[in-house]
């Protein structure tokens, strides 16, 4: 029997995406004008959805502890809700767990040989288990993009399942690394591939933030439309996390508008939606302060590395 390649069979099931059309749609979200109280609401909501992230070779327990303080209380005077999670490398999980004990802020850890995923499955699974054992509430894994592009979808799905099982009670976030999948068809197919083995409340996530191609409104749109279709077909509610490149409040609001108008109100909370970002929180706070005081704020009060200019 002639069998079409697995990716084409999957696309037959889930449908394809027209690139120009989805980019036009995405551009429309960016024309929404969010003012006054709706802006304040959106900024606070976005802050509560941040996975405050540090993924540097130079990370130390001290730096992570400092990040955790910011996660809990981002500003001295203006009320900013705590972020959703702090996201670190597995070696930093213990430091984060210690710093966040007793708070609502969860500890997330990238694992599975982040960001390339190029390590034997055994060691990737061991990494996941170690992070969970150290107290991680959430695991951010990467898929095997090479295997996906080569058409070995079974392997990609199998590995997601095994990581899911290794997570135990921890929430799983599956990073598709959309920039390396390159086409919207691939992003849609990979979203379904992952979602079909995920549990309600697990995430699909755009990017590692470690490549030049990050979350865009268009690839985000493809993924949230996939989440919507999967939900309507199966009843399973998968959560979404764009990551990488979302640096300012205005962009974050555009992403949230897309969520509001595609998935609806049920996804406008940090159980169903996160922003993976290291510097976004700074700008959210800066804009919130501006909303309170009416004055545009200089950057240096809100970020550690704004430079001296």
């Amino acid at each position: 029997m002639i069998q079409r390649p697995a990716l084409l069979r999957l696309l037959d099931e889930v449908g394809t995406v027209d690139a120009v059309g989805v980019e036009e749609r995405a551009a429309k979200f960016a024309t929404r004008s969010i003012k006054r109280e709706s802006k304040r609401f959106g900024l606070r909501l976005a802050a509560s959805m941040v996975d405050l992230t540090t993924l540097e070779g130079k990370d130390t327990p001290g730096k992570v502890a400092s990040l955790c303080r910011k996660a809990l209380r981002a500003h001295d005077t203006v009320e900013v809700p705590p972020v959703a999670a702090v996201c670190v490398y597995p070696t930093m999980v213990r430091a984060a767990v210690g710093a966040l004990a007793g708070s609502s802020v969860r500890v997330a850890s990238v694992a599975t040989a982040f960001p390339s995923g190029q390590a034997p499955i055994k060691s990737r699974l061991a990494e996941v288990k170690a992070a969970v054992a150290d107290g991680a509430d959430e695991i951010d894994m990467v898929i095997q993009r090479g295997a996906f592009l080569a058409g070995d979808l079974v392997r990609v799905r199998d590995e997601i399942e095994r990581v899911r099982d290794a997570c135990g009670e921890a929430t799983l976030k599956v990073i598709l690394e959309t920039g390396e999948l390159e086409t919207y068809d691939n992003i849609r197919a990979a979203s379904f591939l992952a979602m079909r083995v995920l549990r309600p409340g697990d995430f699909i996530k755009t990017s590692t933030g470690k490549t030049s191609a990050n979350a865009t409104l268009a690839n985000h749109q493809v993924m949230i439309e996939a989440i919507r279709d999967h939900y309507l077909a199966s009843g399973t509610e998968i959560a979404m996390k764009p990551a990488g490149g979302i640096r300012n409040a205005k962009e974050a609001l555009h992403f949230l508008v897309a969520v509001k108008e595609t998935l609806g109100d049920a996804w406008l909370n940090n159980r169903r939606y996160r922003f993976g970002a290291s510097s976004l929180l700074n700008d959210l706070v800066r804009q919130l302060v501006k909303q309170e005081t009416g004055a545009y704020q200089a950057p240096w009060n809100f970020t550690e590395n704004a430079g001296g200019y």
């Binding site: 027209d18 690139a19 120009v20 059309g21 980019e23 390159e182 086409t183």
Partner: protein, 289 residues
């Protein structure tokens, strides 16, 4: 020994017919002697001719441009092979004409053959002149192609009964339209013979339908028949008014020629008359991987 005469018939749907009404009108030779009874086509004949054109048109339009070119060229060959006979038919009508008789029979046949050859050559080229790829600002591929309109009505003038008739028919059929034409009323001789030539030209029956009869009696039906998508004529102002008023009911295209037109003139030979009987269709498609 008495020679037998040929009964003049119209050419409709690839068949030679007389009017369903049975009506005829006589034509005479130069000395006033009886020559023949010409069918005086009725409104119903016109309707039947439109039906025949509607049947043949889609197949003709679907022929490859190269095939249409060869068939039109074949029409030229057929006319060439009967050039003397056609010249005689034209001369017959010419003697009958009161004044301003036109180019002269032999010249008219030569010019007609030339015109057929000219348009035969356009069949697989005019699209490259009339169509376009349009450089739109958005990420879309955008092109304009032309398509035949459908059935085109032709009202030939009294003079130059072959050349003018062909000059009006050829641009329409080159692009794949089908034609219902009314021949010169006073000089139908050439059109009758043209029907016989068309019949052996490989042009599918029904693509060109030739009627004879009263211009005044039929002009209103030509104007108002909604299945006719365009009408072309050399028309007086009064006729133009009738045609355009009738055409308005179905937003029909009307292409008029000045009655003073020199039918031999070179400007009848270009792709621009073809443009009069095509619709421009523009297609958009996104460009994305």
């Amino acid at each position: 020994m008495l020679t037998i005469t040929k009964t003049p018939k119209c050419y409709v749907g690839g068949k030679f017919i007389r009017s369903e009404s049975g009506a005829v009108y006589p034509v005479h030779d130069a000395s006033g002697g009886f020559l023949a009874n010409i069918p005086s086509c009725s409104r119903k004949d016109l309707r039947n001719a439109v039906e025949a054109a509607a049947k043949a048109g889609p197949g003709w339009a679907a022929r490859s441009p190269y095939n249409r070119a060869q068939i039109l060229y074949r029409l030229g060959e057929m006319l060439e092979s009967r050039a003397d006979e056609m010249a005689a038919a034209l001369a017959c009508g010419e003697q009958r004409a009161s004044a301003g008789s036109g180019p002269g029979a032999a010249d008219e046949v030569r010019a007609s053959i030339g015109r057929i050859v000219h348009f035969a050559g356009w069949a697989d080229k005019y699209e490259q002149v009339l169509g376009s790829v349009n450089p739109v600002a958005s990420p879309h591929f955008n092109f304009t192609v032309t398509e035949p309109m459908g059935i085109v009505a032709v009202l030939a003038p009294e003079e130059a009964p072959l050349l003018a008739l062909l000059t009006l028919i050829l641009p329409a059929i080159t692009s794949g339209n089908a034609v219902v034409a009314l021949a010169s009323e006073s000089r139908p001789d050439a059109a009758i013979l043209l029907g016989e030539i068309l019949a052996v030209s490989d042009l599918p029956g029904g693509v060109v339908n030739l009627l004879t009869g009263s211009r005044e009696g039929l002009i209103d039906t030509f104007a108002t028949h909604e299945h006719l998508r365009a009408v072309t004529a050399s028309a007086t102002r009064a006729e133009a008014t009738t045609l355009q008023q009738g055409a308005a009911e179905s937003v029909k295209r009307v292409v008029l020629h000045d009655p003073a037109t020199d039918w031999l003139a070179a400007d009848h030979e270009s792709p621009w008359p073809i443009r009069d009987f095509v619709e421009a269709k523009t297609v958009w498609h996104p460009i994305g991987a």
